[in-house]
Subunit: 562 residues, 2 copies
């Protein structure tokens, strides 16, 4: 790093530290592909570079004694990527990581933080390339992939560095002199050193839908606190993390550190390596986002490690009397449609009083509310070329089957239909399915239908809606709850219920801000207070356990003898 | 609280907050029974009050529907206490705690902190009474019981409040306005509230040797973060925690809160209730200090809770060339003798080169080093009346049996002998046993002989000593390691080994400061980085997970409309 970039990173760190305390709006990386930051037509220019990566080994020099390569990614837009990655054995990655943890843990927290900010800066320059990689692994549209997996994920990485730095700096970095008075005698004097030490090796298990956004917090928090990191990407979303790991390795090497502080453990669904890595005694930290089943397995079995999980939950919206019914319907329509509901924060269960609501001075029946919401979804997705930009592609067969299954759960209010992608005929594109369930006792809504599935649930009244929302989140977890109401009492009751259920609440969102979005430096993602997650992106609890302090005390000579 | 005490507590909190960052010497509560603080002859005046408690029900008004009472404490000084405590059922304590968590979690962190500092202030006034209660439950001498279990424990309680407050205040306590720019359009505006919410009910499982010192951090950290607390004392060390719980209940009631925020779950060895409490789904935090077996059981089984454990380890001292051999021997003698080695931090394994060391310009053989240490122990304990003040009484039969067993492990360098207590003929008092083992491969030293047992272990050289120290701590855990050396390289190597083993190191301690002491606001107790403990008294990791943040976001009107 030059002196200039060093100063710039120091300033960025200071702003990030202020931002995590203030939690007002702040962002370090623009999330629009504006020319002044990303160059002219950055996304278009990156397309041929993405094509050039296909059907090639991905260049990354890491331990791989056998020299074998692996990879079976397939774009949800309908073609195999054909990219191969080193098939490194878990044992060689662990040996490499252990060896690499020599100089890194004893570097000053500020040096580590600034080195990592340099890496984020370099990753930021790859944002357009990452967008293509993310699009063709997750199924997101290119613009969403750019925003969520590029700059927004980079903000979360910086946030992790800031939290980790803040937590470490709560420990004195210089030796302190401790003098205990002893009545008339000279004080007892000790010189004390407080050493921040890493836990060991951190394993980050990537997810298939937001590989960078979900993995960066763990990667950067663990590296910042002195640990080495092994990144085990989802077998269908390797490329975005391979690019990120390669940049980090290069940055670490340029800064004089061992690049094996971060390595990639690519695998295929047929020959997974995750469990071998997760149970290795040297792995002391695990970050996971994905299925409740595997998250639960990790929590139960990887007992040698601190395990941070984001699993799944069932998100809900409570609809009460609300004047701007159009604004609500449009807002919900976008939330349902964005990335075809393949987000942990997409709302699934919409609780509406069976007798309807009051809106704009008149009554709206349940059916009218339902049809306004359905109409808003139809209007949003009427133009296929625009619709695919919102919906992206369905990532797996399982999601397609879930749509079929959900159709049988009740009365179809809005049918899910297929859209042909203008450029990618192989892509599976589906609009959201909206199903009206029988009522609050219908068991269907207590299951997560990950994907473009929405249930409208008639309830006795708003109090019943609130009770069912709270019970479903308490029992099954949830990351996000919405409320539309003009009644101050209802808002208070809903907030109290959300606090009891430990779920984040968004009230009366209309316009260009959505329930399923959470923004670095301000919103917490998850609460760790219900079954959906045991960790939060990002708070002090997310970083404080990633390092330990070991102290050395030395008898110091009496003051006169100094 | 009056306005005056409110201001005083605010000032105390601010000093404590500064102290946890500086980690130089600071203490809020004098640990000598000086008249200006504790009254004339405080310890003597408390004796009749202690006697008056015996063979009586302990006055504490908490849920106890059946009206049964329980208690089987016996003083290690040779008599039963005969004190009875409410035999409250776990279910009624949990119901009481849940109900009590209404106003407390929504009080401002500062209000909770100041209420708890008021409680510590009131506990401080009970220090002389606590000293007698501690003496006759733990077997400590009265002066040690006063210091360690009174003011030193109160400092640790205040430290817990300060850390908890610091962690909560990292989250904005007032709603914040988030404004995201939108190009030429008016910004999107959200008002965001970040609610600190408790985890649930905290269970504190007390230990038999330092019931207050070990329990206060968990009690005060959990209360400060809004949780309700159930204190399950060791069946032979109930009284000190009963006194503490009663003061906390009274303070909470005076401050307008439900006293069932803290209750006592007394039991007997014949009818333990710990597992029932530990597995209750409402118990979300558990603090435990005690045996590795039960600590391991909690970690494996109480999966619904965050479990903070201090288990056990094997502490070591490495002896290298050192001039002040007298100072070293005296210092070690005191460490071995204090409370008959019934401390988690007492050194057990002393590694000494078989060829001896250099001291004061001449060589000292292994045998000479051994006999200097033995002579220092004998000299320290030559006067029975003074010796019992250091040794206290042996708490259990098991410890007496361990001394017998250790005798068979090698060559006895200093025999453990019995001292008759001048006032308490029923007390079991033993001086430390010092045994020379065969060598570094002797398996005996890889077991913890909790109590007055010291092994001298001949090694090939200091490098071998360091390697064996590191291996034993890495494999079996340890809280404290000592080194005596004048060689800068050896000191560096030892520090590096201690960092790898994750154990706190004290170098060249002579005079009135000992390996087995750790001081609030400066020393970390444990590191959480080896098998001896998964938690640290006290760091941010100890408090950051005791609460969660749940956010509510509200769409805010455009700026012009305000």
């Amino acid at each position: 790093m030059t002196q200039d970039s060093y100063s710039a990173h120091k300033a960025t760190l200071e702003m990030a530290l202020a931002a995590i305390r203030a939690r007002t709006f702040w962002s370090a990386y623009s999330d629009r592909p504006i020319p002044s930051v990303y160059g002219e037509d950055a996304l278009a220019h990156a397309a041929p570079r993405f094509k050039a990566r296909l059907n090639q080994p991905f260049p990354i020099d890491q331990p791989n004694e056998a020299g074998e390569w692996v990879g079976a990614e397939r774009s949800p837009y309908g073609f195999p990527l054909g990219i191969l990655y080193p098939k490194s054995e878990p044992e060689e990655l662990i040996a490499g990581a252990r060896k690499a943890m020599s100089a890194w843990p004893s570097a000053h927290p500020e040096e580590r933080a600034e080195t990592l900010i340099e890496a984020i800066t370099r990753i930021n320059r790859e944002s357009a390339d990452l967008a293509h990689a993310l699009m063709h692994t997750t199924g997101q549209s290119l613009t969403m992939a750019f925003r969520a997996g590029g700059p927004n994920a980079q903000d979360r990485a910086l946030e992790a560095v800031a939290y980790a730095y803040d937590a470490m700096m709560a420990v004195p970095q210089q030796p302190v002199l401790w003098e205990r008075p002893q009545g008339g005698n000279p004080p007892v004097r000790l010189r004390k050193h407080f050493h921040v030490v890493p836990r060991g090796i951190a394993l980050i298990i990537g997810c298939s839908t937001f590989p960078t956004w979900n993995a960066y917090p763990g990667i950067f928090a663990s590296l910042a606190t002195g640990n080495a990191v092994i990144v085990k990407p989802h077998p269908n979303a390797i490329l975005p993390l391979a690019i990120s790991v390669a940049v980090l390795r290069e940055t670490l090497r340029d800064a004089g550190f061992d690049p094996n502080l971060i390595t990639l453990a690519a695998d295929t669904p047929d020959a997974p390596v995750t469990k071998r890595l997760a149970l290795d005694p040297h792995v002391r930290l695990i970050d996971f986002a994905g299925s409740p089943e595997f998250g639960g397995w990790l929590e139960d079995n990887a007992r040698q490690a601190q395990v941070y999980t984001e699993k799944a939950g069932i998100n809900a919206v409570v609809v009460d009397d609300f004047d701007d019914i159009e604004g609500m319907a449009e807002n919900l329509a976008f939330s349902f449609s964005l990335y075809s509901g393949q987000m942990g924060t997409t709302p699934q269960n919409i609780f509406i009083p069976e007798a309807g609501i009051a809106a704009g001075g008149r009554g709206l029946s349940f059916e009218e509310v339902a049809s306004r919401i359905a109409a808003a979804v139809e209007a949003l997705l009427v133009e296929p070329a625009e619709a695919v930009e919102i919906l992206g592609a369905i990532r797996t067969e399982v999601t397609l089957r879930r749509i079929e299954e959900a159709r049988q759960c009740g009365e179809v209010v809005l049918q899910s239909h297929t859209i042909q992608h203008p450029q990618y005929p192989g892509a599976e594109i589906r609009t959201p399915l909206i199903v009206k369930l029988k009522g609050g006792d219908d068991p269907a809504y207590l299951r997560e239908f990950f994907g473009p599935v929405v249930f409208l649930i008639p309830t006795r009244d708003t109090a019943d809606s609130l009770a069912r929302m709270e019970a479903s989140i308490t029992d099954h977890g949830g990351l996000a709850v919405g409320l539309y109401s003009q009644d101050r009492d209802v808002i208070e009751q809903c907030e109290a219920a959300a606090l009891r259920a430990g779920v984040n609440l968004s009230v009366n969102l209309v316009g260009n801000i959505y329930l399923n979005q959470s923004t670095a430096f301000s919103d917490y993602h998850g609460s760790g207070a219900n079954a959906a997650s045991n960790a939060v992106l990002i708070d002090h609890a997310f970083v404080a356990d990633r390092f330990r302090v070991v102290q050395s005390r030395f008898l110091a000579p009496p003051r006169a003898a100094e």
